[in-house]
């Protein structure tokens, strides 16, 4: 699609109705800084994106209405953009004063097509964006190239599959199920050594022998379910029974039999010794009486009450001590009897207290426990509170007949007690674990099935990414060839080579730029390249991408892209424009006057149109086109304000123009050493041009070419004025306005003579291989060397 016109009204630098007309050619537009030339690139960006990136800041307004609209637009007047294409299709937008856009197009879907299909970054390059691609991150490079790679559908597919994987995992509760499965499996492995069906059935069958009466189900789940029911019933019912047996155990622990035996022994012992104690007491008393008598009678012997021997009074003490010792032993026995009696008494009390518990009392009422109940009743009849030291004989007799029976009955009852509660709980757990094995299997199958889906999605995503990678490699290989080609044109013979795009190994969705710097591989141009080279590389990549994107067929906008290039490399860009962008319409904007003139000298006017913007006046006037392509309006703008500066400007323009012309016409100049060669001026060039033109400049007359001397006088006039007035303006500063105007007019006329009246091209445009002559496109004007 080729642009015919771009019409702006109160948009950015444009006042009312500013039109750029391409005449279906490529266009080079010169405009000094601030002349408003970027308004056209802004217009294209607004059409595509509905906004302008460099106006995205807080001061532009929420809809960028403060930046988009010409500051001097009449109140209520909308801003408009209209881009008309060859064939009269157009896209346009009307923007209200408060920034609300209304897009139109003909055909009606063209605006949507352009918005969707035209990637701004691939056909509009601005000064500050030249190196943006190079300095961007490798992920951003990938994103920038993705539309060009034509792989958005695959990229989206991979992204959707990636997300779907996560959602399947979330919705399927995979993590929770895996955790539950791990827990159940761990528990099963702790409880069961063998998880085979046979082993599990064997365990259940053994337990069924304890708990199940009647038929035993053969299926594991059914048997486990039945066992759980029965065990739970037993646990529920066992509570009071357990309590009873716990109490019986406590009764057993009272060890009545042992305590009875001990008590009996102690009682027996003390009974003998108490009889002896009484005899001893009497004998001691008698002896004491006798002793008293004998002491009074003076006799030295007494009869020992213990043994009957007659002993001397001196031996009496010894005898008394012996008897006292015997009495002490009796006293110990007495104490022991007292203690054992007390111990037994306490135990009996405990037992009688425990049998009052409901769990025991109810049980004792059973017929089977009638004997035990009777014996316990007999003991209960004993009044143990009267026991002190001796147990009454009838009580001892009763104890000796009842306690053995009580102890025996308790022992028998405990021997036939049901499994303790801990065993019930253990059995229950075992059955539950066995029952869970089937759940484990089912859960395991479910987890595996979900994982199968996730693994399949993962494999698909991987395959898509591999496909993207493979296709990307192919595409960027092609683009890299172009980058290298254009780079070699811009930088012939320089030791920076093998420039290419590549896919970094360590990242997905990433592209980076590699090159060789003096033979050393560099993974990024940011490591070694200067700013100028980076900008140049950025330009190469942009142009290579533009060439790669031929299918889009949209024009290319280059807005002040050579600012950081030196003159030599700038000249190389001319060749690229001339030779390598022939399939696309190019609209090139520059503030570099010299380059503009170079392009005018190089690019054929049959394909290229050159336009000049006047220096900026004010927003109300806006963008203005100059009639002069030689940029003398820059000088005219200074007339009246600063005539000397105007004169200097004219001089500068002519210095540049004639330098180009001298180069193009291969005018022979005398040798000048060093910098003097580069500092030649129009005053150096013009006389030589004029001198050679007298011989070489030819114009077609009929079938032959004759010397064309008509321009000579104009050139000589211009040269004279340059020598006198231009020099005066720079050296003495005394030029006046009308002199400047005359100087400009003379120079414009002089320069015009280098172009053919018929085709409009410069005389050197067709540099024929024979090197015998130069000529314009149509051949009417020639510069002959022989």
């Amino acid at each position: 699609m080729r642009v015919e016109t771009i019409e702006l009204s109160w948009f950015r630098g444009a006042a009312e109705n500013c039109v750029l007309t391409t005449a279906d050619k490529n266009v080079v537009i010169y405009g000094a800084n601030g002349s408003g030339k970027s308004s056209f690139a802004d217009a294209i960006e607004y059409i595509i994106n509905g906004k302008i990136e460099h106006l995205s800041h807080e001061y532009s307004g929420s809809r960028q209405e403060k930046g988009i609209r010409n500051t001097h637009a009449p109140n209520g007047e909308s801003s408009t953009i209209k881009v008309v294409f060859k064939g009269n299709a157009y896209v346009g937008v009307e923007i209200t004063p408060d920034g609300i856009p209304s897009f139109q197009s003909s055909p009606i879907d063209l605006i949507d097509f352009i918005k969707k299909e035209w990637e701004l970054e691939h056909f509009v390059l601005r000064q500050d964006e030249v190196a943006a691609f190079i300095v961007s991150r490798k992920g951003d490079k990938y994103s920038a190239l993705l539309p060009l790679l034509g792989l958005q559908n695959l990229e989206q597919g991979a992204t959707n599959l990636h997300n779907l994987k996560q959602y399947v995992s979330e919705r399927g509760e995979l993590t929770q199920k895996e955790t539950k499965l791990a827990g159940l499996t761990r528990e099963a492995n702790e409880y069961l050594t063998d998880l085979s069906e046979k082993a599990l059935l064997e365990i259940l069958t053994n337990l069924a022998g304890i708990y199940v009466k009647g038929d035993i189900p053969s299926a594991i789940q059914e048997l486990a379910h039945r066992l759980l029911e029965l065990i739970q019933q037993r646990i529920t019912l066992a509570a009071p029974e357990i309590k009873r047996y716990m109490t019986l155990e406590q009764i057993r622990n009272e060890d009545l039999a042992s305590k009875l035996g001990t008590m009996n022994k102690a009682q027996d012992k003390i009974t003998e010794q108490i009889d002896e104690l009484l005899d001893h007491k009497i004998a001691v008393l008698e002896s004491a009486s006798d002793f008293t008598d004998s002491l009074d009678s003076g006799e030295g012997t007494v009869e020992c009450p213990a043994c009957g021997r007659i002993i001397s009074t001196s031996e009496l003490t010894r005898h008394i001590n012996e008897q006292l010792q015997a009495l002490g032993e009796i006293r110990s026995a007495r104490n022991e009897a007292k203690e054992t009696l007390a111990t037994l008494k306490d135990s009996i009390k405990q037992v009688l207290s425990k049998i009052k518990d409901e769990a025991i009392s109810t049980w004792l009422e059973e017929e089977s426990q009638s004997e035990l109940s009777e014996k316990l009743s007999q003991i209960a009849e004993i009044d143990v509170s009267k026991w002190q030291v001796l147990c009454p004989h009838e009580d001892r007799a009763k104890l000796n007949t009842t306690i053995p029976i009580i102890v025996s009955s308790v022992k028998n009852a405990l021997d036939t007690a049901p499994p303790p509660i801990s065993k019930l709980l253990e059995d229950k757990k075992t059955v539950e674990v066995i029952a869970s094995v089937s759940e484990i299997n089912a859960l395991d199958n479910e987890v595996k099935a979900i994982k199968n889906i996730i693994e399949a999605l993962d494999a698909a995503e991987f395959a898509i990414r591999e496909s993207i990678k493979s296709r990307t490699e192919d595409i960027i290989r092609t683009i890299s060839v172009d980058i290298q080609f254009i780079w070699s044109k811009l930088h012939p013979g320089e030791p920076i080579e093998d420039v290419k795009l590549y896919l970094p190994e360590d990242a997905d969705k990433a592209i980076d730029i590699g090159l060789k710097f003096y033979g050393v591989e560099q993974p990024s141009p940011r490591i070694t390249l200067s700013e100028g080279h980076r900008n140049s590389l950025g330009l190469c990549i942009f142009l290579a991408l533009a060439r790669a994107d031929q299918s889009k067929d949209c024009p290319i906008f280059l807005d002040d892209i050579i600012s950081s290039l030196d003159r030599e490399h700038r000249g190389m860009v001319n060749n690229v424009l001339l030779e390598d962008l022939t399939n696309r319409q190019v609209l090139l904007f520059t503030h570099d006057r010299e380059w503009f003139q170079e392009l005018r000298a190089v690019l054929p006017h049959s394909d290229w149109k050159f336009m000049v913007l006047r220096p900026w006046d004010c927003p109300a006037v806006g963008l203005q086109w100059s009639d002069s392509k030689d940029t003398f309006d820059d000088a005219r703008a200074l007339i009246g304000m600063n005539d000397e500066a105007a004169g200097n400007r004219v001089r500068a323009i002519m210095d540049m123009q004639l330098a180009i012309i001298t180069e193009r016409l291969r005018i022979m100049m005398h040798y000048a050493r060093g910098d003097r060669n580069d500092h030649r001026t129009c005053i150096d060039f013009f006389p030589r041009i004029i001198s050679e033109a007298k011989e070489r400049l030819r114009k077609r007359v009929g079938e032959s070419w004759e010397k064309y001397t008509a321009p000579i006088s104009d050139w000589e006039k211009a040269n004279r004025l340059l020598v006198s007035w231009a020099n005066r303006s720079s050296h003495t500063g005394s030029l006046v306005s009308n002199e400047v105007e005359q100087l400009i007019e003379a120079c414009e006329i002089a320069l015009a003579h280098f172009k053919c009246d018929a085709c409009g091209d410069y005389v050197w445009i067709a540099d024929l291989a024979s090197r015998e002559r130069l000529q314009c496109s149509c051949g009417q004007l020639q510069w002959r060397y022989s």
């Binding site: 597919g157 399927g172 089912a442 693994e455 493979s470």
Partner: protein, 79 residues
């Protein structure tokens, strides 16, 4: 989805493969283990489902459908 379709896809060059084609070739294992899930994914791919940005809601719905195929398979096995 049969071997014929997979075979036809394999004959295409890698530069011509669509998302559906790649799914067919990469999910053969799922085709054998869970044909219903596989069929569902392939049909979605052939509709162009995956090639556009899909909302979380739509992807969740597809995830639920895939999980439903597992339930269906379990019921059939238990039956």
């Amino acid at each position: 989805m049969g071997d014929k379709e997979i075979e036809a896809t394999e004959k295409k060059g890698p530069q011509q493969e669509s998302v559906g084609d790649i799914l067919r070739l990469s999910m053969k294992e799922l085709c054998e283990k869970n044909n219903e899930s596989y069929t569902l994914l392939i049909s979605k791919a052939d509709e162009g489902f995956f090639e556009e940005h899909e909302t979380r809601g739509k992807l969740n719905a597809l995830a639920d459908s895939l999980l439903d195929t597992l339930k269906q398979a379990r019921y059939e096995n238990e039956g």
